[in-house]
Structure formats: structure tokens, C-alpha cells
């Protein structure tokens, strides 16, 4: 059942090809309708909705505690940060005073999530350009983080560790020890990432100078996260609209100016170093105290509109809640980073080859449930 009408007005050399929904490079169920001339991409048209679950509609019937676990299923690679976004919105709306301990733990876990997401991305990135071994090296390091999560939160991916007001339970006694072990381990492995892939001549030739996104276009397309920062667009929400404990730590916003695929790659690898340094600054300084602030069993947000943005591993996640004072949100909207990042794919992939499209798409780091909410 093809629902997309065939676009005519082809030139005689052009043909159309379906990349996805089952295709190794689309990482999920994204369908790209490519118009190709030989190997040259003429047009990329994404077709979405294969796993749309209408989370926004489901939110309208759920209580605020219940909404949090739905956000796990959006961008599953930064599920903790998604949870945090909803919780922060609710907490800001209720004007709750959040204990320092919660803020610090949230920040540490968010940064661990970011590293986990980036290591997975790094592995898959290598696989997309044909170096299959990177996948396993990336997963080796991610596995350690997942173990930390599992010990503390009980789940490896869809953690649901945040509740409006704080955390579901305190960190596990082993948390600090394991995190330090991970930092020590990862500091020896991260240079290998560069040796194996970043400096590799084939990889660099593949990545440099393709998929170029200028700063103006990046802003206009709403690119965020590493995609925006690789174009020289300072868009780190952690810096510009600081939340949790990010105002207490020192870290650099990684900025590149080339805007090509390789600089997007570099931004992510360098961001892992920054995340490590954030965790290092915080891990010894987790303040004592409560791990949650008391809330009512039934949370009712005061009437009004609330917006909160956070920086997920993919970019800026916005949560927009319209409340009418009841226990459910009247309208809930997630502004997902992947959605905006996907919208610029056509812009930067046209003129490249099929191989370029795959590399470009890999550096956009699309997670389809994030787009298909």
C-alpha cells in the first residue's frame, strides 16, 4: 500500500528509490524517497510516521507522573534527559524548590546518558561508513554506563528515574565507585576512537566537505545540538538556558565552523570529553540531602503555559505544556531535536552521492521514535 503519490516531473535520467523503511542506514523505520541521477542525489523526501504513537495525545489523558515514562520512548538514547525535561517543566510550574542533591545527580546521569548516546552513535557511525568493528568498541563502553544505570535505576534504556519533584529513589551505594571506574576506563578508550576512525584517511576523505550546512541555514532550519554547533552556531541549552547543576560546572561549548559532516563528527567526539569533565567535577561533590521534594499525590499545574528546553544528546528538546489547572495537561507538545534536524536533510544531501547521504544521515544522529513521537 503505497501512500505517497509518485512525483512526476522527473528528468529522463532520474529515477526514484526507496531508502527504508527497512534499510540498514536509516536506523529504524525512516523512509526516504530518493530521487537519484545515477549515484547523485537530486531530492530527499522523508516519509515519517511508521512508529508514530501519538505521545502528545496520550499525554492529554495522563497525569504528570505518568507522562514522564512516555518520554522514555521518544528519544530512547537520552531517555533520562527527556524525563528531566518534563520534570523540570512541572517543577518550574509548581515553583518547587528542588534539593541540590537531585540537581547534581540528574546532571551526572544526564551526562552519562549523553556519553552513552554518543558512544552508540560513534559505533553506528563507523558501521554506516563500513567500519564494522567500531560498533563493538562503542558498545563495550556504552555497556558500562548501562550497567551503572541498571544498578541505580533498574533499567538500562527506559529508565524513568525522574519523577516530578526529584528522583524515584536514591542512587545506589555503588554508583560513585562505578562511575569513577567508567571515567578511568573511558579515558583510555576515547583516544582509540581517534586512532581508529577520526584520523583514518579513508574516513576523513569520506566525511570532509560533504553535507555542508551554513550557520544561517542551521539557525533557520532550527538545527540544534552537535548539528548546529558544528556550523558555528552556539546553541547549547546547557549554557544559554542553564538548568539543573550546569551553572555550577565549568565546561566548554564545543564549536566548529566548517559545518560539514566531519565537523559534526568531531563535535560529538569532543563533547564526550566535555561530558567526562562535567561528571568528574560533580561525582565527588554530590551533596547530602533528600532525593525528592514533596509534591501532592495528584499534581495540578496552575493555569497557564509553560515551556522548558533541555539539551539532549541530539540537541534541544522543548516541552510545551498548556495547562487549564486540571491534573492533565490540556496540550502537550514536544519539540524534538531530531525532527528539526531531519528537516534539513534534503537541504544538505542534495548533490552528494548515496554514500554521502548515508554518512550525512549518520552524523545527524537521527533517532526515529524521537521524530515520530
Amino acid at each position: 500500500m503505497d501512500t505517497t503519490p509518485i512525483i512526476n516531473n522527473f528528468k529522463s535520467e532520474e529515477y526514484q528509490i526507496n531508502m527504508g523503511p527497512q534499510h540498514p542506514a536509516t536506523h529504524g523505520v525512516l523512509r526516504l524517497l530518493l530521487t537519484i541521477d545515477g549515484e547523485i542525489i537530486k531530492k530527499v523526501e522523508p516519509d515519517l510516521g511508521y512508529i508514530h504513537r501519538s505521545i502528545e495525545k496520550m499525554c492529554e489523558r495522563d497525569s504528570y507522573q505518568q507522562i514522564v515514562h512516555l518520554t522514555d520512548r521518544m528519544d530512547y538514547l537520552s531517555s533520562h534527559i527527556n524525563n528531566e525535561a518534563v520534570c523540570l517543566t512541572v517543577e518550574n510550574a509548581l515553583e518547587l524548590e528542588i534539593p541540590e542533591r537531585v540537581k547534581v545527580i540528574r546532571t551526572i546521569i544526564a551526562e552519562l546518558t549523553r556519553i552513552a548516546s554518543h558512544t552508540l552513535w560513534w559505533g553506528v557511525m563507523g558501521m554506516d561508513v563500513g567500519a564494522l568493528t567500531t560498533y563493538f568498541y562503542g558498545f563495550r563502553d556504552r555497556e558500562m554506563i548501562n550497567d551503572i544505570f541498571e544498578e541505580t535505576c533498574g533499567a538500562r534504556l527506559t529508565m524513568n528515574y525522574n519523577i516530578p519533584g526529584g528522583l524515584m529513589f536514591d542512587i545506589h551505594p555503588n554508583f560513585v565507585k562505578r562511575t569513577k571506574e567508567f571515567i578511568a576506563h573511558f579515558k583510555t578508550k576515547l583516544p582509540e576512537y581517534d586512532l581508529l576512525l577520526s584520523n583514518n584517511i579513508i574516513f576523513r576523505k569520506r566525511m570532509e566537505g560533504i553535507g555542508i550546512l551554513t550557520k544561517e541555514d542551521a539557525i533557520s532550519f532550527g538545527a540544534s545540538g552537535p548539528v548546529g554547533r558544528a556550523s558555528g552556531y552556539s546553541c547549547d541549552v546547557r549554557k544559554h538556558h542553564s538548568y539543573s547543576a550546569y551553572d555550577k560546572v565549568k565546561f566548554n561549548e564545543v564549536l566548529k565552523t566548517e559545518g560539514d559532516t566531519y565537523s559534526r563528527y568531531q563535535v560529538r567526539v569532543l563533547e564526550m570529553w566535555e561530558s567526562l569533565s562535567i561528571i568528574e567535577q560533580l561525582i565527588d561533590n554530590i551533596p547530602e540531602g533528600d532525593f525528592f521534594a514533596k509534591t501532592n499525590a495528584v499534581i495540578k499545574l496552575p493555569e497557564g503555559e509553560y515551556y522548558q528546553k533541555v539539551e539532549t544528546a541530539r540537541g534541544e528538546l522543548g516541552v510545551y505544556i498548556v495547562s487549564t489547572g486540571t491534573k492533565n495537561p490540556y496540550r502537550m507538545k514536544f519539540r524534538s531535536p531530531g525532527f528539526s534536524n531531519l528537516s534539513l536533510l534534503n537541504h544538505i544531501a542534495v548533490g552528494g552521492k548515496i554514500g554521502d547521504l548515508v554518512a550525512t544521515m549518520a552524523t545527524l544522529d537521527l533517532v526515529i521514535p524521537d521524530i515520530d513521537r
Binding site: D62, Q65, Q66, V68, H69, L70, D72, R73, T133, F136, F139, R140, E143, D147, E150, E151, T152, C153, G154, A155, T158, N160, I163, M168, F169, H172, E192, L195, L196, L197, N199, N200, I201, I202, R204
Partner: protein
């Protein structure tokens, strides 16, 4: 001359890459990161907070702690918990009291969010670390958590 220096540098980066994988190849004897799952069943222990499935612990007298307050049912986002209850006369006090008949848990609908366990005021339900949840028939995924003939542990109140 940049032609030749390009070749030289290119080959050098390739060899560095090969040295990384080569190092792992040589250490492959001890370095496998994978687990041989069904074989290591005996030693494989999940973390104590691992969310496998919701269970209701019973003590040796076949008594549980569920008062039938239905807070878990309300907290569940997916409707995976259903509590069938009625009012029965408590033999000790002689008053009518809410008693659970069946605490039904649909594992197939559960998203392991943990809200029910947070919501439970009497710690009647908790996480089990069992992860081998696959069954041949979907009907097996619907479980009655309280054992037949079980009753409320004395002294547990809302």
C-alpha cells in the same frame, strides 16, 4: 611533493588504525566482552533494583500485604493492573473490610515504569529480577499476583 607526503600520511593513519584492531586481536583470548547467555544462567545475577516483573511477596502463612487500596491501579499509565475486590467481614474485628479477590497484572502491557511500586503504601508489590518473561501464549502474560487462598497479613493498614 605533497602527492607523496599525502600517500605517506594516509598509509600511516591506516596503519595506526590497524594497530588498534591488531592489539585487540592479540588480546582477544581474555577480552571478549560478550556473555554466553544461556550457559551462564547460574552465575548471571541481575542487579537488585532491576525491573523484571511485578510480584507480590507472600510469607510462609500465605499472607500478603495488599489491602486493595487500588493506588497502584490508579498510578499505572497503561492499565496493566486490575484489582478485583469486595468487602468481607474481618474475622478478628468483626467489621467489614476491603479485601482483594484478585490482583491482576498484565505483563504484556507493562512498561516497567515502576509507578505502581512507588505508589503502594504498604509495600505489597515489588520488582522481581526475573527477566526470562517469554511465553508461548499471550494469555500467560496475564497473571494473578495473589496466590489462591492467600489473605491479608494482619496489622497491615492503609
Amino acid at each position: 611533493m605533497s602527492y607523496f607526503s599525502d600517500i605517506y600520511n594516509g598509509v600511516k593513519t591506516l596503519l595506526t588504525g590497524m594497530s588498534v584492531t591488531g592489539k585487540y586481536f592479540l588480546h582477544s583470548r581474555k577480552g571478549a566482552i560478550t556473555q554466553q547467555y544461556p550457559d551462564n544462567r547460574d552465575t548471571l545475577k541481575m542487579f537488585d533494583r532491576f525491573r523484571g516483573e511485578v510480584v507480590m511477596p507472600h510469607d510462609e502463612n500465605n499472607e500478603h500485604r495488599c489491602t486493595g487500596c487500588q493506588k497502584c491501579e490508579l498510578a499505572c499509565p497503561n492499565g496493566s493492573i486490575e484489582i478485583i475486590w469486595d468487602r468481607q467481614v474481618d474475622p478478628e474485628t468483626g467489621k467489614k473490610k476491603k479485601m482483594i479477590d484478585q490482583h491482576i497484572y498484565h505483563l504484556g502491557m507493562c512498561t516497567m515504569c515502576g509507578l505502581c511500586i512507588e505508589a503502594c503504601p504498604t509495600d505489597a508489590i515489588k520488582w522481581a529480577q526475573n527477566f526470562e518473561n517469554s511465553v508461548y501464549d499471550r494469555a500467560y502474560l496475564t497473571r494473578v499476583l495473589n496466590k489462591p487462598g492467600s489473605k491479608l497479613m494482619p496489622g497491615v493498614e492503609d
